[in-house]
Amino acid sequence: MALLEIKDLRIEFPSRRGTMVAVDKVSLQVNPGEVLGVVGESGAGKSTIGNAVIGLLEPPGRMAAGEVYLKGERIDNLSDREKRKLRGKRIGMIFQDPLTSLDPLQTIEKQLVETIELHLDVTEAEAKDRAVDLLRQVGIPDPEHRVKQYPHQFSGGMRQRVVIALALCAEPEVIIADEPTTALDVSIQAQILELIKKLCVEKNVGMMIITHDMGVIADVTDRVAVMYRGNLVEEGTTAKILGDPDHPYTQSLISAVPRPDKRLDRFPLVEYIESAGETKKSLDIANHWLGQARDFGDHYTGPLIHVENLYMRFLTKNSIFKKNRSYFDAVKDANFEINSGEIFGLVGESGSGKSTIARMISGLYTPAEGSIYFAGTDLTQITTEKKRDHFRRQMQMIFQDPFSSLNPRMKVMDIIAEPIRFHGLASSRAETESIVRDLLDHVGLGVAAAMKYPHEFSGGQRQRISIARALATRPRFLICDEPTSALDVSIQAQILNLLKDLQAELGLTMLFISHDLPVIRQMCDKVGVMRYGQLLEVAETEQLFENPQHEYSQHLLELMPKLTNVKAA
C-alpha cells in the first residue's frame, strides 16, 4: 500500500475574473523509502499540491475535488484540528527559503523543543537531548553549543539543515520538500540533497520533492511526475523519464536542459511551450539599421576588453576615523582579456564577485584600483560624462531579473526608444519609432508589442524586450549578467538561441555571467572561474570542462548534475 496517495486532485483559485484551476486530475503515490520528484515549470501548479496535502492552501485557494490518503486513511476531509495533528507529526514540510523559515527571535533549541514536546510524549530534558541529536543527524557540527544560538548566527545552508531537523522532529512518515535547494549555492545544494537522500533511506520515510530543476531530479529521485499547466502529463521511473520520455512536453523539456557534456550549436527548440520567437528572418546586415555606423572610429585591433589588476572594495563598517573602517574585497586583482567577437564567461557561486566585475566594466561601480581598457582606452581614467557617453553607446548590459529590469510605468516603445534618443541615433521621431518596431520584430516579439506595458508580457518576452533595448544603441560589446537564471528552462533555451544568433549576425563581443556550468559550456568560448573575489582560472571552454586545472574548478565540475542517463538529443 502506498504511504501517501493523491487521487484526482483539483485545486481552484476563485477570483473576480473567474476561477483559475491550478491543478486538475492529478493522481500521485509516494511509497516508503522512496523519493518522488514532482517537476514542472513556473505556473505548472506543483507547489499547491504540497500545500493542499497538508491542508495549508493559501486562501482563496481551495481543494475542489479529489482525495488524499495517508496509509490508506483518508485525510483531506478531516477537521482543521485533526489535520493540524497530522502536520509535523506524520507529514513533515520543508520550504524553499531557509533564511525566512525560522523565527528570528527564538533560539534553535526553543523552536526544536517546542515542536518535539508537542508531538512526542517526552520530558523537557529528553526533548533537549533529542534536539541536539537531531542537529547532529542533519550534520551540524558542535550541536550542543549551536543549539543555543539564534537563526541569524547560521549560514544559509546550515539554516536549511535546521529546517530539515525541525521537519524530522517527530519522525514523520512523509516529507514534502518544496524547492528545498533552490535558494542555495551549488556546493551547498549538493550537500543538502545528499542529506535528504540519506535520511530518506535511513528512516524509511516517503519523500516528495517539488522542483523545477532537472539536476535535482536526476540526483535524488526514484520516480518522477511531470506537471504542465496544472496537469500531470507523465509519470515514471527517473531513468525512464530522463532517458526515454513518452510525452512530447517531457521530451522537449529535457532537450532544453543545457547539456554539460558536449557543446551544441543551438539548443533544440521547445515547440510545445511558447511559440514566441524563432520566426525571425535572417537580416541583411549591410543594409539594416543595426549594421550601420559599426565603425567606431578607433581601428583598434587588439583585445576589445582588457582588465588589469582590478579591485573592488565595499565598506562594511563605517567610522569617522579612516583606521577603524573595514572593507570587504568583492574583487581582488582580476586580470583578463576579451577578444573581439568572443563570448567570455565568468562562472562562480553567489558572492564570488562575478557580477561586480560586470558592473565595473559597465560603469555602475567605480573600481577601487586597476584599469579597464576598452578598445585601448582606459575607462577608469575618463573624467567627463560626455566622453564616457561615447563608450556607453558601444557597450550595453542585459540583466537577470526580467520583472525589475523594465520600468513598469513606461511603454515598451519608450523603453527601447530611450537609448536611441539619448545617444541621438535617429534623426526624427518617426525614424526612432520605426527602428523600435524593427528591433521588436527582430527579437521575435512582433511590432504590436510597442504600445503595451511590461506587465503584459511573460518573463521570457520581457527578457526579449531587454535585449532589444540593449541593441538599440548598436553596441559592439554586450554584458549578460545571469540573463536566463530567472527563466524556465524552455524559455532559457529560446533566449540563449536568440543571443547566439545576434552574436553571430552582428559580430558582438560578449561577457556572459552565470552560475550554471552547462549554460556556460553551451554559450562561451573562454571561461574564468571565480571564488571569493578572485579569478582562479581562465581557460578555453572545452579545455576547462575536459581538463580543469584549479582545484576549485574541478570541485565545481564534480558537483555539476551529470544527467548521465539522459538520452542524447
Binding site: I54, R84, K85, D103, P104, L105, Q153
Partner: protein, 327 residues
Amino acid sequence: MISFIVKRLLQSVMVMLTVAFVAFALFNYVGDPISNMVGQDTTFAEREQLREQLGLNDPFLVQFGRFVGNAVQGDFGLSYHHKQPVSNLIAERMPATLELSFISALISLLLGIPLGVYTALNRDSIMTKIIMTGSLIGVSLPTFLIGILMILLFGVVWRVLPTFGRGDVVMLGWWSTGLLTVTGLKSIIMPAFTLALFQMTLIMRLVRAEMLEVLRTDFIKFARARGLPRRSVNYRHALKNTLVPVITITGLQIGSIIAFAIITESVFQWPGMGLLFIQAISDVDIPIMAAYLVMIALFFVVINLIVDILYFLVDPRLRVDRVSGSH
C-alpha cells in the same frame, strides 16, 4: 551593547544640541529681547547697559555656550509676561502634564495593543469590522472636539464629571499630585480619555498592520506546517515578532502624547505646561517657548533611549554577533 548605548547617547546629545540651537535662535532673533524686558520709557543708554550686562553683545558662540550652560542647570531666564523665572513656572506645572500624559499613555497602550492583536487575528469577524470603523472615526475626530463633546455630555447634560481644572491636589515634596484625591481622580478621567483616544487608535492600527505583516512570513507558515497550535503560532511566534517594530513607534507616540496634551489642557483648562505654552505663544513669551521646546526634546530623547534598550532585550539579532562557525 555598551558601545551601542554610547552611540545612541551621543546621538541624543546631538539632537539636544540642535534643539537648543533652535531655542537659542528663537530667544535671540525673534523680536528684541531687551525691549521685551524693559518698559517704553527706558533710555537708550540704559538699554545698552542691560544689553552689555546680559552679554547680548558677546560673540555668537559665547552666547550659545552660555545658553546651553544655563539650560543644563535648568535656567531659562525670566518670562517676559509673568516676570518670574521660567524654571519655576515649568516646575510648578510639570506634574500636572506628566500625570495626565502617563494615565493617557497607559490607557492607549492597554487598549490599543490588545485591540490591534485581536483585529489582526480575527481579520474577517464582524467585531473587527466594527472596531476598525470605530478606529477610523477615532482618528477623524479632532482631539478638541472630543473634549468639547465630552464636556457637553458629562459636564453640561449629565453633570457627573468636573469640566475644568485638576480638582484638589496633594503636595508630595515639590510634586503636586491629583491622583490621591477623589476630585483629582474625577477630574483626570475626561482629559485622559480625550488625550488617549487618538493615540490608542493609532497604536491599534499600527499593531494590526505589523501583526498582519508577520502572519504572512515564511516562518509562521513553517510553524503551522509543523502542526504548532494556533495559540503558540499567534502569540509565541507572531506577537513577539510584531513587538520589535511596535516598540519603536509606540515610543514615538508616547513622546507625542506629552505635546498633544497642549490641546487637552487648553480644552479642560488643565493647569499644565501645555497651557503655559499656549499662553506663551499668544503673548510671544519667547523664554517659555524655548524652555518648553527643550523640555519636550528631553522627554523624547529619554523615551527613545528606553526604547533602544527594550529593543535590545527583545531582538537577539542586536545582541549577538552575526554568522559564526563553519558553513
